[in-house]
Amino acid sequence: MRYLPHTDEDISAMLKVVGVGSLEELFSTVPEDCRKKEPLNLPEPLTEWELDRHMASFAATMATMPEYKVFVGAGSYEHFVPSSVLSLLGRSEFVTSYTPYQPEVSQGTLQGIFEYQTLICRLLGMEVANASMYDGASALAEALLMAARITKRKKVAISHLIHPHYREVVKTYLWPTGYEVIELTYLGNGRTDLSALDGMTDLAAIAIQSPNFFGCIEDLAALRQKASGQGAMSIVSFTEALAYGLLRNPGSYGVDIVCGEGQSLGIPQSFGGPSLGIFASRMKYVRNMPGRLVGKTVDQAGRRGFVLTLATREQHIRRERATSNICTNQGLCALGAAMYMASLGKNGIRELAKLNYDKAQYLKGRLEVAGFKIRFEGPTFNEFVVELPNTFEHTYRRLLDQKIVAGLPLASYYPELNSCYLMVVTETKTKEDIDTLVKGIGS
């Protein structure tokens, strides 16, 4: 086996040094009644060339671009990723290194993550960002736990327009803590109804997503006002990070924690993971934040260098009193996001974000002209909800045969939105693709 370098001679020489007669004898401390008696029941090994064919046959069953035109977003977005980013991210010094606990031989990762933290803060208007969480969902759950720690309160309010999966993860994480989770309903304009918060007491946090699950841009000023009026922390979640290339950032509204999904920033969709949990906050809360942080310092010769810092918050030091149990994070994805943001730069990010907005607006307009109703009138970024006739289910399936996925049916997530579809348009779709979609929906 090509991954195992030992020759028979090596093995006998080494066994001799160890003082045992066989490989089996190395396991003398494993009691007889703990031993596995029969061989593992697994497929026999494949050569590299057999495995190539096997994996290709699996991958071939998957519906992906450019063959398929997928107009589904809902937390996973199809964006172009420059070859330069993919190539740089494949460098084995980044890929095959460990967490940078030995900073002298990890300066590449450390500077890269420091730059990532800085770029995220500039994107979101925040003061501090960590080195990543698992995904947008767990980032939100951790944000709520952090708010409960800081405020010492045990009740949180989250919008019904936060991604349904994120809300499920929040409920899982908070279940054993006994914290109460209140869901805020939504208004006819596709925004969260914050009025239910009036008179509510003892809230640790109020969390909304913007753009929300329906694609609508929320009123972050109102969120911030409601939260601070009640001594609760304001949390903004997001699934489409690119939106903040165009929209006014959450930090500028004064919110306390911004957390979300960074997959749009140059990370392949990869069937939902690995992606990138982004987590940013205010400097005054830094010692309560979960996750790793990279800080700037100097070496013995006075040269600039970077280290993991404020580790006393973390599990390997603080153990059961840590701010989170997270250890391994999504570091390589964070580095990829930094490469992507650096490639776009200030000249590219606005133009790309605006292009997403314009293409989605174009689809909206075309659907309206074709007589379909845009369900919510609130402003959106690159995703929105359209209401289609009851008979559309058949058309949807017919379009699948034509390799077009005409949005995500919302009925299973929001039963009241039966016959509503969540549509996304990113820069990967041409005007022609959009026209074909509209024609297909209308036929």
Partner: protein, 485 residues
């Protein structure tokens, strides 16, 4: 020593991203604008993020230079104990980025994603077979999330029986994530001391175990690299009082095909695909922390689960007792592809062989270095061995000094100062993918460093000198944190 593996070569300085570039540059091929610009409510629009302005070449040089300041498994031996830094096969990377996988949207109808679902379904079964457990979920994104999930399964199981226990037993050799994970489930961790042989004694567990204890979180092999020989008896004690046994499987690389965790009293365990199953660590992640359970915990596993019906696969959330989701979608699928590829490349016999060779390598290092380092537990080890710096302390040389000197000599240092039960711990896990020549070179290097500790201690105090930077001021970094530019 005449010449070490470590040397210096030309490494280039590189400023921060925004300290370079030029006005108007962009490193991205902007897609064609084929629709009109649409007006937007001005109140919603923000200022342009203050990103750098770089050409593609600027970006490529930047990250290429940064990468050269890193040490990876592809660079050399990375004997980090408890981390299993084995070789990460290149072919795995290729498969994870096949367009069919890399470009797959997670919310398409099942008929359009059969390959991904089948891969997950098969991988779950492979991992159940390797651990001897009954069912596996791939959803946790890393080991610590696996621990949280597994602990929560225990919490849910006990709740379903109307029990609400408040404590969890954690051996003193545990990973830091263990107490942090059980705390998230509102359990209070109760430390249990290991005995003079470095393992848990049934007596110590029996003493701590009562009807308010939900379970024990036992790492096996433990972080001293020792097999918990009393695991069966300990399981009986814990089960006898209605508790459950959680095994942290971070060290599974020692016992594939050798120990069947499901048969020795373990109720639930997690694996680290980024350790045992050869997927890379990526400078900190992404990993993947599947959780394997026995039948009685299966109803509580996270949803959605992949099921097979009449030869095709789909996702089902129809499990009323499930703890719910722990990930936005299905976990780190790209990592799963790599682990699946590894298992199929290895096959059953080579997986067992890998464990045998990992244990051989660790014992070889233990025997070869116990003459120069203190070996607190001188007994056969599994995949890693733990020394201490006691003998070097007389020369005012610490583990840290030796670790930094190893860098100069061309090796990544072992895990240091962990496990906490050994002061000045040096925890070496060579893994099976290091050859005898490499181990010999490592051993010789350690011996010569020990010699230097006596003869020329300043060489160690001042190390590293060959790396991109010298030792860094971590105290100031923490006291006056500068976390963004």
């Amino acid at each position: 020593m005449t010449e070490t593996l470590g040397t210096t070569s030309l490494v280039l300085n590189e400023p921060l991203l925004w300290e370079k570039g030029g006005k108007g540059r962009c490193g991205f091929s902007m897609p064609r604008r084929d629709v009109e610009s649409s007006p937007m409510n001005g109140g919603l629009v923000g200022p342009v993020p203050d990103f750098p302005e770089l050409s593609e070449v600027d970006v490529v040089r930047h990250y290429t230079r940064l990468s050269q300041w890193n040490y990876g498994v592809d660079t050399g031996m990375y004997p980090l104990g408890s981390c299993t830094m084995k070789y990460n096969p290149k072919v795995n990377e290729k498969y994870a980025s096949l367009p069919g996988f890399g470009g797959a949207h997670p919310l398409l109808p099942p008929s359009m994603v059969q390959g991904a679902l089948k891969l997950m379904y098969d991988l779950e079964r492979f991992l159940s077979e390797i651990t001897g457990m009954d069912a596996t979920t791939l959803q946790p994104a890393a080991g610590a999330q696996g621990e949280l999930t597994g602990t929560m399964l225990i919490y849910a199981f006990l709740r379903s029986k109307g029990e609400h226990r408040s404590k969890f037993l954690i051996p003193d050799t545990a990973h830091g994530t263990n107490p942090a994970s059980v705390s998230l489930c509102d359990f209070h961790p109760i430390p249990v001391k290991s005995n003079k042989d470095g393992i848990l004694s049934p007596g110590a567990v029996a003493e701590a175990m009562d009807e308010d204890v939900a379970g024990i979180l036992i790492t096996n092999p433990n972080t001293l690299g020792l097999f918990e020989e009393n695991i069966r008896e300990i399981s009986e004690i814990v089960h006898g009082k209605g508790g459950l046994v959680y095994c942290d499987g971070a060290n599974m690389n020692a016992v594939m095909g050798i120990v069947e965790m499901g048969k020795i009293g373990v109720d639930v365990m997690h694996l680290n695909l980024h350790k045992t199953f050869s997927t890379p660590h990526g400078g900190g992640g992404p990993g993947s922390g599947p959780v394997c359970v026995k039948k009685h915990l299966e109803p509580f596993m996270p949803v959605p689960r992949v099921i097979r019906e009449e030869g095709s696969y789909r996702l089902s959330s129809d499990y009323p007792h499930s703890i719910g989701r722990v990930h936005g979608f299905y976990g780190n699928f790209g990592v799963m592809v790599k682990a699946y590829s590894y298992i199929l490349s290895m096959g059953p016999a080579n997986l067992k062989k890998a464990s045998q060779l990992a244990v051989l390598n660790a014992n070889y290092i233990k025997e070869s270095l116990k003459t120069v380092f203190t070996l607190p537990y001188d007994r056969p080890c599994m995949h890693e061995c733990v020394f201490s710096d006691k003998r070097q302390n007389v020369h005012k040389i610490t583990t840290l000094d030796m670790a930094k000197r190893l860098i100069d000599c061309g090796f990544h240092p072992p895990t240091i100062y962990f496990p906490l039960v050994i002061p000045g711990a040096i925890m070496v896990e060579p893994t099976e993918t290091e050859s005898k020549e490499t181990l010999d070179e490592f051993i010789e290097t350690c011996k010569s460093i020990v010699h230097e500790a006596r003869e020329n201690p300043d060489l160690l105090h001042e190390a590293p000198k060959n790396a991109k930077v010298r030792r860094l001021d971590e105290v100031t970094a923490a006291r006056q944190p500068c976390l963004i530019d």
